[in-house]
Amino acid sequence: DVKVTQSSRYLVKRTGEKVFLECVQDMDHENMFWYRQDPGLGLRLIYFSYDVKMKEKGDIPEGYSVSREKKERFSLILESASTNQTSMYLCASTTPGGAHYGYTFGSGTRLTVV
């Protein structure tokens, strides 16, 4: 069974901390995505990557960065966590033709910044 694994289900961090959210997929997918989900706002795209060492900004990249050193791993980095980054974070992956086959999502990381 194909999988996208997010390293933590729940995470509590302090304001100002540097936070790493990890996402690993075992499907040899080229494309990986990070979203955040907030009540009333739906899912919003933060960053995505179409290849190793490649990244592109999504709709809300401010306050975030990403790293894709290996094909299977896509990390989301909160450089200095703030309370307005408290949210559910979802990682997804797909093949280059994945727009035709659907995306596979991880179970999500619920991050609380205090």
């Binding site: 009333g40 706002l41 995505f48 995306y103």
Partner: protein, 107 residues
Amino acid sequence: SQQGEEDPQALSIQEGENATMNCSYKTSINNLQWYRQNSGRGLVHLILIRSNEREKHSGRLRVTLDTSKKSSSLLITASRAADTASYFCATNSKLTFGKGITLSVRP
């Protein structure tokens, strides 16, 4: 920027009834996808319909697409309590999502 807009925002039905959910979008698309999200979990891909298709079926799911009206509908027939979830439509390769529809199926 959000592309898909689902309607209604919330839907409550009795088990066994059909549930119809709608999605509208703004710009031209290559395909439209529907996803389900159980409470506090990740999204699960349900079905994809391409822009040159008008209708598609998968089990109890039926999806229609009207590109002239820039709209799609998802029909779940003979609903079950286990169908209780949020449903999202999404368009194109960067998967721009709507805000979702909360479906409650009463036993």
